[in-house]
């Protein structure tokens, strides 16, 4: 029930890919897990001064639903999670939009990379 960086990355990946990308049906967890692992790898290679702020921001997003739902983002249903993500994407607070864009970019790039580069 506590916020977690890696669980949040997996949750964001699942939601973004399922909502945005063709072929990401419920059953393709192996590919989705590979995309999430790819994003975690990208995070670990970021410029060093950006890693901690992004990690904290991600944990913050995960924990932001605790007050209203009693559960972190990664434990919400896909529908609930997506509603929040859509709200954050449209936020007037640009750092929040930038965090979402970072994950959106890597998620769609990673997904279509899995599907097309690897012929999965």
């Amino acid at each position: 029930m506590t916020p977690s960086f890696s669980a949040a990355v997996f949750a964001l990946t699942y939601s973004i890919v399922r909502e945005r990308c063709a072929g990401a049906e419920e059953g393709s967890t192996r590919l989705l897990n590979r995309v999430a692992t790819y994003i975690l790898g990208c995070h670990s290679r970021l410029p060093d001064f950006m890693r901690v702020p992004l990690r904290l921001a991600t944990i913050g997003l995960d924990g932001s639903t605790l007050l209203t739902t009693g559960r972190p983002l990664h434990l919400l249903s896909h529908e609930e999670r997506w509603r929040r993500i859509e709200r954050w994407r449209a936020s007037r607070f640009s750092p929040l939009r930038n965090v979402l864009r970072f994950y959106e970019g890597l998620a769609v790039f990673g997904w279509y990379g899995e599907v097309h580069e690897d012929g999965a």
């Binding site: 060093d48 990673g110 997904w111």
Partner: protein, 484 residues
Amino acid sequence: MAPEAASTSYRNGGAETVVLGSGPGGAVTACLLAEAGRDVLLVEEGPSLALGDTESFSRDEMRRKYRNGGVTVALGNPSIAYAEGRCLGGGSEVNSGLYHRTPPEVLDRWQTEFGLRDATEADLAPHFEACERDLNVSLLPAEAPPASLRLHSGAEHLGWRSIEVPRWYRYDAGGQARRQSMTETYLPRAVQAGCRIVPQTRARVIRREAGQFKIHCSQDTADGGQRQAEFVAKTLVVACGAVQTPALLRRSGIRDNIGRTLHFHPTIKVVARFPEVVNHAGMGVPVHQVKEFSPRIGLGCAISQPPHLALAMLDHPEALAEVLADWQHCAVYYAMTLGGAGSVTPLPVFADPLVRFGLSAGDMGDLATGLRRLCECLLAAGADLLFPTVRGLGPIACEADLAKIPPALSPGATSLMTIHAFSSCPMGEDAARTATDSFGRVRDVPGLRIADASILCSPPGVNPQGSVMAFARRNALALLEGRG
């Protein structure tokens, strides 16, 4: 094959000349000095990988051959995503192999504005010619990829100048193409001439003591750890690229006109959908560029494999799945501009420098003009739907829709990227605004030289690697002849 790397027995050694960085500037410099009989040690931060060790433009290549896995950003409003090679051979190993000479009008401007001497078109011609021979710069022997031809046909329809850009490729008797790079050309020659190469070694700081340079490095070890290493050199050539070179020099206390004038080619993209097939798996590098508005605005076609298409569709999420389902009818195009300026600042504690970049309202206007020209060209080429990387700007389907593009793009809504960085340590005789003299010698630090895109005075408006190699060759020969 990647050139053989030196054993770690050199880790506490040195050389008459140490070259930091093995991209086009460092590789050409190391090769020419070694072939002239100089004792040369080439230190590269990234791993030693052959050209064919990774698939071009794949995620694997980004992970293994790019700095920060290809996820680097210059902070600003808007922030600009940029990419740098980080492997033996540097950017030459990961780019499209497109080649340009420095435009003559750019050289004239550098002479006028920066006091750059001995760098006219005629002065540089022999250096360009030599590099072109060494890299087999040539036009495609067969037809260009269809997405590239679409751009060309749109420009022709409008009466705009469009060219096929030559590339660094070698063709065997069977017509099979092999891209050229530093690990295919200058680095094997350098090793053959006695140059020692030490990969996976990052220069952290340089000190000048008793007429010599001491280069303090951290070196990757086989077990994933790091150890300290130190090299000593009489002459030091820094060729770590337009971001890492000023970061290293500033960290080492060398700051005059260093790292305060970083320039990019800010680039905006458009995904275009055509009624006919224009894309296929493994489609070669697009080679056409529209030069009608050069150097202020350049138009071209980008790598358009599905992951790259998906990334360019981020501002149109509602159409992403539809475009990707139809990806063989779609390709990514770009408009490249010259504007803006930035800085490179090393941060205490952190290894990676902070890169900042700012664009004025006029620069955002140039990007809007570039975007409008690009859309005009693609519509003339027969595209039926265009998706610019601008949030809130809907798809463009006809000329009337071009009115939706504002006179200046909004910084908060525009997604920009670049693969060209330069001018962070400009060269010339105007000491008030340059970091080095006209031959890359850093002012007031005898024996220290720069040989990468940092010394280009301002944005060249074309891929800078041809310019980097020609200036590196000119400056290395001047060093050998005692002229510069």
